[in-house]
Symmetry: C2
DNA sequence: CAGTGGTCTAGACCACGCG
DNA sequence: GCGTGGTCTAGACCACTGG
């Protein structure tokens, strides 16, 4: 009479007659456990060795299964510690009125004011300002000639020391050169307030939103786990004369943000 | 004197003194080749065996490298054929005025009219209509009681036979029951035209946008390659009395869409 | 049929974390 | 020091594509 170790109950979860690959079946089990709540956010998965024993497969097969869940953003692993059900960080809602409001707020940049308002600690770092030839898509959006330079502002935004987005703004040098827009600190109300003071009364913003996987540099800068896509939001500010005066390219961690827009029906 | 086969030039690309894992170095090489255009969209990568020979590693190591690029959405592999630089399909731009327009268009649903307008063949399939208890988040958004039922409309949209999005609409049964909204074919102008005919003049739409990796069911339904995230767009239609009359939950392939919004500055 | 990617084994050694 | 995940080897067999 053969021995029947207790892991037999788990081994029975595998269907050897199924066409579905073993590692996919294991991934399915883990996914079901997570979605059902049997494994909650932050819970540790069984170790790879344990699962290999349980299912009667090698560690490499288990790793394939876990890899599926990591690619789907459900699981995050930490070298030397274990694999965990990924926690969804607190999201920040970006309303479509955020810039209308900003124009009225004096003294603080919108990001700082809003994040402090919910009791978190906002930071802006990696600020650089330079004058450059813009990339082609920016040339198009700003209706510039091919040799025209722009002031380029780069910065990264963090909430409670967690990076959530970074942005690059392009303003025609003709407008921004020598103004506060070309300084590290643009002063109260940010560059939109400065643009209006310079006579470019703003009419509207056009926003283009894409979603994609980050490149390795973006993943590093935003400390993204595997399986977390980014929003790419390209905003063009247009003044009342119909002239585009700024393009801002923002890359945001998709699990730090929900974008809210209100559209009139007419 | 040892033989130096021609693949030696490629083997030299590996830096054995580097801390970076071999499969990451290989992935870096391939990514650089793709981003520089040396490998263009649709081009076939060297076979796994070829790369294993070139770099002097096993096939499993090469597969890890290719897996990195698949997870990033850069590469797509086809069983028995090879691995290819992924093609980005044509994108459809979703303007924020798409529903204001729709109200004026008679005779055709907005999706069909717009896609035909660019010379492509639009399809809607998997249409189902039923009456159900809505999920919690829909109960909240529609300001409903806990036992109230809604008419649920599901459908999938395809462009040139490629699925690009699927959507689920929830309309309070009290409003929709017995009307064209509860039929397969809602008639000219779609459900928004019917809602207005029923006396619910629409005031605005609230849209919430998220990005995330698809679950396996979504990936199958939208035929998504690995490394392609989805947009999830939840739209709530509100009538002039301030009553939410529809919630529509749409899941879209992120590489089929760019979302465009225009925001007034004031 | 040959060549491709997909799955899986049975090991090995390493780097990291934590007690 | 021990358990964890990370990397890598050297095979094997399979499923699929295409000539």
């Amino acid at each position: 009479m053969p021995a029947t170790p207790d892991n037999q109950v788990l081994i029975e979860h595998l269907d050897p007659t199924s066409d579905r690959a073993v590692f996919r079946q294991i991934a399915d089990h883990l996914r079901a456990a997570i979605l059902s709540g049997r494994l909650g956010e932050g819970d540790q998965l069984p170790s790879e060795s344990q699962m290999a024993d349980h299912y009667g497969v090698t560690r490499m097969t288990v790793r394939q299964a876990v890899g599926v869940l990591k690619g789907g953003g459900l699981v995050e692993s930490q070298h030397g510690r274990g694999a965990y059900v990924r926690r969804r960080p607190q999201v920040r809602r970006l309303g479509s009125d955020r810039f209308a409001r900003q124009l009225r707020q004096e003294g603080k940049a919108a990001f700082l004011a809003e994040v402090e308002g919910v009791g978190a600690k906002p930071t802006v770092d990696q600020i650089t300002v330079s004058e450059e030839r813009p990339p082609d898509d920016v040339v198009q959006r700003l209706h510039l000639g091919s040799r025209v330079k722009v002031v380029v502002r780069r910065r990264r935004y963090l909430i409670d020391a967690h990076p959530v987005e970074f942005a690059t703004s392009y303003i025609p040098a003709e407008i921004a050169r020598g103004t506060a827009i070309a300084e590290q600190n643009t002063g109260p109300g940010g560059i939109y307030a400065r643009l209006e003071e310079l006579g470019h009364r703003l009419d509207h913003y056009d926003e283009e939103i894409r979603a994609r996987m980050p490149d390795p540099e973006e993943a590093r800068s935003l400390q993204l786990a595997a399986g977390v896509p980014v929003f790419q939001l390209i905003r063009t500010a247009v003044d009342v004369d119909g002239r585009p005066v700024e393009v801002c390219n923002t890359v945001m961690s998709s699990d730090a943000y929900v974008l809210d827009y209100r559209l009139p029906a007419q």
